[in-house]
Amino acid sequence: MLFLFVCMCGGLGAVARFVLNTSIQRWWNRMFPLSTFVINVIATFCAGLAAAAWAHQVVPESTYLLFVTGFLGGFSTFSTAINEMVSLARNKHFGMAAFYLAATVVVPVICVSLGWLVGSLAH
């Protein structure tokens, strides 16, 4: 039963990503794929928060599973980011692809640490 709920939370996360992605792409018309980047930044920050909450025993494991494995797992995306890099490189925008790769490698780690810090601070 929990398995099913986790999966449905993943579906909700995907829908949330679809809405945010479309809304950002509507006004952002530069080359940098801002929508995926923003989505991943938000997801990793929330993941840090949730990890801190779970580590300090604020929330039960089922809530953690529903939110992190389900919702955030469906919300954040690795495949779209990688494919945006590949398509940037295939269109000969090597500088932008390298910049996006570096940003996607470094920024989520910073964000998850920030989320962890904020979560620990609140505790």
């Binding site: 993943g10 579906g11 829908v15 494995t69 797992g73 980011a81 890099m85 590949v86």
Partner: protein
């Protein structure tokens, strides 16, 4: 009678005219370097044709795809061992997340490159597939948040080298896998296109095809109507197939008529903006 015959020169369309009509160039304000943007009418903003956010079907396929992708990722975490090693360097390497990310990269790259070439699939079907499987399923299957949490927990247990290795290998392998996935999708689409082209050429050249020149009289085979149509089209003369409808009856032999081929091109019109008349 003589005056009603159109002179041949008026029936010809110069190559320049054809070129001008086939590739329309923007004129007026649209020809500017930054053409003015016309906002969508308010009523159209809530129509699914113009706004993906107003399209309920997209929400459904993305939700179903995301549910399926999450089920696959969550299921993998039960099947595969959580980390590559019990402790030490390989303890930082999380096999289920890595496998899910690589598989999602491959499927996503293959699918998007294939759909970008697949002109034989209806546009709506392509959009729903791309949203449902690409955005929903692959997006839900792959995850960056789990990767980030794993990085965090590994770094907290002082496995910095393993954490950095896991992060870099994830991204580099993802790039390689996505590149080959895109190549694979393009190759599959090219194969399908080549097959379709061969079928189209075969259909256009049936066994009984032969070239007919004007003035030659041809007995049409009745059973193969498409061949007759092709031959008559070559001749510019439709009289050959008119008698050939009864099966088993050899077509009546007619001398070719010299009616000119009809001009089916649209007449170029230049509108007068002040009066609205077309000359």
């Amino acid at each position: 009678m003589e005056s009603q015959e159109p002179s041949p020169s008026t029936q010809e369309i110069s190559a320049a005219q054809v070129r001008a009509q086939s590739t329309p160039e923007p004129q007026g304000a649209a020809a500017a370097a930054k053409p003015p943007q016309i906002p969508l009418a308010p009523i159209k903003r809530v129509q699914a044709r113009f706004n993906p956010l107003a399209d309920g079907m997209l929400y459904l396929v993305v939700f179903l795809g995301g549910t399926l992708g999450t089920a696959m990722r969550y299921g993998l975490s039960f099947i595969l061992p959580a980390t590559a090693g019990a402790e030490g360097f390989w303890h930082a390497f999380h096999v289920p997340t890595f496998t899910a990310n690589m598989a999602a990269c491959l499927i996503f790259a293959c699918l998007t490159s294939y759909l970008s070439q697949a002109a034989w699939i209806r546009k709506r079907v392509r959009e729903l597939t791309s949203r449902g499987i690409g955005m929903g399923m692959c997006g839900g299957f792959s995850t960056l948040s789990a990767l980030a949490i794993e990085e965090l927990t590994t770094m907290q247990s002082d496995l910095i080298a393993g954490a950095v290795f896991y992060l870099l290998v994830s991204f580099l392998m993802g790039l390689v896998v996505a590149y080959f996935g895109a190549r694979l999708g393009l190759a599959l689409a090219a194969r399908k296109t080549a097959k379709a082209a061969i079928v189209a050429v075969r259909q256009q050249q049936p066994e009984t095809w032969r070239h007919v020149t004007a003035g030659e009289t041809v007995a049409m085979p009745v059973d193969d109507r498409s061949a007759g149509a092709v031959a008559a089209g070559e001749n510019g003369d439709g009289s050959g197939i008119s008698d050939g409808d009864a099966p088993g009856h050899i077509a009546h032999i007619n001398p070719p008529s010299y009616e000119p081929a009809p001009i089916t091109d649209e007449i170029p019109l230049t509108g007068d903006p002040t009066t609205g008349e077309a000359h």
